[in-house]
Amino acid sequence: MRNDRVSEPELAALAHAGDAEAFGELVTRYGAQARRLARTILLDPDDADDAAQDGFLAAWRHLGRYDPGRPFGPWLLRIVANAAADRRRRRRVRQTEELSPTAAVRDPGPATDADRSTLRAAFAVALRELPERQRTAIVLFDVEGYSHAEIAAVLRVPEGTVRSDVFHARRALREPLAAWRGWKENEA
């Protein structure tokens, strides 16, 4: 893999010229973000990984449309969000195993104690109850660190809508967050 000093527009240009290794570096940098975003939208880990792959594949085929003057992340995540929405439309007819408390606990994490697992489960439940756009906005803002403007570009909504979505989502997650904070304070 290439080192981190190669800029994303350069990697995208190389990948557009057919350099799969350069694209692999972009997948390495954005893979986790793309998978979390797809999981946020679909609430199903397996479907989410397939959607994230679909998104990367679409990005690879349409790299010519990427504007190197803009950040790569929001452009890619917009494609991943579309791929996830497309997969959700196609799966409507079949039963799905949504992101459940057990699904969240099933994923191997750094902590193994019961408290942390219970807190993660509570978060999974609260997250699942949020409207999809609020879920997406809060994950892109508080987990991935994107600005309101960048999230607005990903979701194709006005910036004010993103601010409102983040606010409402934070308010809805207050209870599990308070429990998480309490647990962190006890840990410290």
């Binding site: 799969a20 893979g31 986790a32 999981r39 994490g109 993660r120 978060f123 508080d142 904070r181």
Partner: protein, 113 residues
């Protein structure tokens, strides 16, 4: 620990950590490998067809619209003539508009009344 308000316009690191764990993704290397395998594999014919479907449908719609317009202009004068129709005698008009049964003389007449 500083309490973050929903109004704050900066990311909340504690909330971010909690959400990150909730949405935990594993095996990044395996994911990268799968993506690279897919981009190196030849594109299936149905996907190629699917990519062309939308522009093809759009092109077909434009061609149909242009063709329809040209055809309309070409046969426009002929349609006007057809719309005018042949000269119909007063007797026939009377037959079509009268409420009662037609007059036998009119029906069998040679139109020279």
């Amino acid at each position: 620990m500083t309490e973050h308000s929903p109004f704050d316009h900066t990311p909340d690191p504690i909330l971010g950590e909690a959400l990150r764990e909730t949405l935990a993704v594993a095996d990044d290397i395996g994911f990268v490998r799968q993506v690279l395998e897919r981009i190196r594999a030849p594109q299936p014919w149905w996907e190629v067809l699917g990519e062309w479907a939308r522009p093809s449908v759009a092109a077909a719609m434009v061609l149909t619209a242009v063709g329809g317009f040209l055809l309309g202009r070409l046969i426009g004068p002929q349609r006007a003539e057809l719309a005018a129709g042949p000269a119909i005698g007063l007797e026939v008009t009377a037959l079509l508009t009268e409420g009662g049964p037609p007059d036998v003389e009119t029906l069998l007449g040679d139109g020279s009344q």
